[in-house]
């Protein structure tokens, strides 16, 4: 009886106590706590940042999304799937912008990441890709491990339960096992699939990439995306490749945007409009890219941008 008596709390007492408990850290640790409070609230699901240097663009795009602290917690391992597929220079826009990669890695570390790895299974020889694209240096400068999936030992054979045509695949083990997974694509023209966007970037986690072409490329792109939803998608649209994709060199266009989103289909749907349809000459509609449409139908994200909280910000 004594114990039950002890825990008899009136409603008023409870509210008082709860208020005090909430307030204590606010008083004791005002600044950091306010910081996290601000991060935790997201105003948008898709943020487009324009005007500014790569790091400014990233910063501007991330803040309305809730900041990097929303995705990366202290002591976590982060995997960034970059696009380092080709032995091209940064100006040719076939690979990610090195400055943006540096900024992204730094931001992960600032949010408390224990280790950040940048992965890609390159198409050209990885040594040439890493050095010519400047991305190995850029990643390492910020303290990340820039790793290449050229050895089969870093892959893991997995079932794809939600895949329609692709039932099993060997994918990068770290992508599956890391605490946080960031997809970091660059939109490009692609002759076979019209465009290469965020979801297409996922192909670079597969060991036998060419095999997917044999099955059904568009469906495979959607299928492989069911494996793990990226915690964050950062689309590098500072400069994009508009012809001769995906390897280039071709015509490039300076868009000067960085898009951050939690919804990969929405990000792809937005980025598709950078390119003009070869037949109509009008910007691509998201439905015109088959893998985006398939992914939407499979429930991987929202293709209709009017149903997504979109926010445009200026970095400067």
């Amino acid at each position: 009886m004594d114990t039950s008596k002890k825990w008899n709390v009136t409603r008023r007492e409870f509210i008082k106590g709860a208020a005090a408990l909430t307030a204590t850290p606010l008083v004791l640790h005002q600044l950091p706590f306010y910081g996290t409070l601000a991060h935790a609230s997201s105003e948008a699901d898709l943020v487009i940042a324009k005007h500014g240097s790569p790091s400014q663009l990233l910063q501007a795009a991330m803040t309305p999304l809730g900041g990097m602290g929303r995705f990366v917690k202290k002591g976590q391992r982060v995997v960034i799937k970059a696009n380092i597929a080709w032995a091209r220079t940064p100006e040719q826009a076939c690979t990610n912008n090195p400055e943006l990669l540096t900024a992204l890695v730094k931001m992960c570390y600032e949010a408390g990441a224990k280790k950040v790895a940048v992965w890609d299974h390159t198409c050209d020889n990885y040594q040439f890709c890493f050095s010519r694209s400047g991305l190995k240096e850029a990643g390492q400068k910020a303290g990340a491990d820039v790793l290449s999936g050229h050895g089969r030992n870093v892959y893991k054979k997995v079932e794809i339960p939600n895949g329609k045509k692709l039932k099993t695949a060997e994918v990068l083990r770290d992508v599956l096992e890391a605490d946080v997974f960031i997809n970091f694509p660059i939109p490009k023209h692609h002759f076979a699939t019209e465009l290469t966007l965020g979801m297409k970037n996922f192909i670079g986690i597969v060991w036998d990439m060419e095999l997917l072409h044999k099955i059904d490329l568009h469906q495979c792109i959607a299928d492989i995306n069911t494996l793990r939803k990226p915690d964050l998608v950062v689309v590098d649209a500072i400069r994009i490749l508009t012809t001769n994709g995906p390897k280039g060199p071709g015509k490039t266009e300076d868009i000067g945007e960085v898009i951050a989103s939690t919804d990969i289909v929405a990000a792809d749907a937005y980025a598709a409009a950078f390119f003009k349809h070869p037949k109509t000459g009008k910007p691509f509609k998201p439905e015109e890219i088959r893998f985006v449409k398939l992914a939407f139908e499979m429930g991987l994200g929202q293709i209709d941008l009017s149903k997504v909280r979109v926010k445009r910000v200026s970095a400067t």
Partner: protein
Amino acid sequence: MNRWIPLMRRTVQTLSFFFLLYLVIRTAFPMEIKIPVDLYLRLDPFIAVISSLTHKGIIERMFPAFGVLLFVMVFGNFFCGWFCPMGATIDFFDRLLFRERKRTKPFEDASLRRLRYGIFFFSIIAGLLAFQVMYLLDPISLVTRTLVIAFYPPAIYLYNHLLPSVQTILPSNSFFMSSVPLPIFKVNLLIFLVFVAILALGVIRKRFWCRYLCPLGTLFSISSRLRIFKRSVTEDCTSCQRCVRDCPVGAIPETSPRDYRHQDCIACFKCLECPPQAVSFHFSLPRWKTANGVNLSRRYVLGSLAFGCLSALMIKTNPLQSESGLKNNRLIRPPGALPEEEFVAVCTGCGECLKVCPNNALQSTFLEAGLAGLYTPRLVPRIGYCEEFCNFCGRVCPTEAIRATSLEEKRLIQMGVAHINKTRCIAWDTDKICLVCNEQCSYHAIIGDEKKRPLVKEEKCTGCGICENKCPVDGESAIIVFSSGVQRKLKPEHSDNNG
């Protein structure tokens, strides 16, 4: 002092071998090493002499070799006993594994000693007639080739298998590292067996290879006859035969240990370990006359020459070498290679280019290029393709059989042209969208038609083989690179890259 010489020699030999090993290991991306990685080959006078003869011109890269030859001519042969990595290996295995058999009767080797001159004359004449088999016997080329083809793949294999356990020990890296793509070479077993056979000859006589076969040693023997640094024996000699037994090249005759064949001496100084201290080395006037030389009859020399001529003719009339329809049009030579006939005459088959190729694309031939082209490099796209921004093979070729080209120049060399097999191609045979070849092509040489089926633009194709390599069709690719036998220069493309 004398006691230190064997130790010193062994140290120098070990260092020399490991230096070669180091150079071979560094023959890889990114090729920023300051020392030429083919240093040992460039210092090899036998390769220098023969390749200049077969090339019918001067090969600049081989100049250092003539310096070595000059040194040997004046001071004697210090190369074989001190610096030769093959000699070091043979010495090591002669002690460790293949010990010389004990025999009661003395080993009669006059005919064997003659053999190396026979091989040498055969090599020279066959070389002049562009038959490159003599390169196979050059010790430096042989040892690099063996290291690259026979020992490099197993080393990577072991590394890859040890990698997981090594990584569990290292806590610093929380991510798994990729294993290294395993290099593969078809002729590895053959090369390995030849190497082991050469080492095993030590059972018959220590340094059997050096005494009776090595053509580089023969060249040194011939050229060091007028050396000025020589051995002399005082009256104290008791004919105890110790130096006769110890001499690794058998330069001291049993009957008269106070003489020696100075041209065969490799300056190992083993004979200094003389019980009565009767042996010393010092400078003296050159002398042509030698003790107990080789009986090179006119018949023997002419016989060797005739055999060399005939062998070269056999090779020349082999269908693979001739202009007949049997020409191997899948024989793609590395970018910048000399025209086929000159190429097989100059390439020593050392394997440097096989080692440096980042994609394992260069493979050693067996008989695909005829006997004259044994162990020469060829591009096998299904194994690996020629990387666009790589010109390493031309940079490491010691005899310039693959010319050193700038990246701009290399990217315009047409080694071959890709052809699509429309009955096997996924896009042509079914209505699926594939276009891997178009996606991978570095030179915009593959375009897609309105139904997204690939077509090759021959005027842009370099024959790098990335399309053949990446084609997802099982087994033989649906797009195959064929060579016309001649490398062409493509017209430079005005890049539509505005970046």
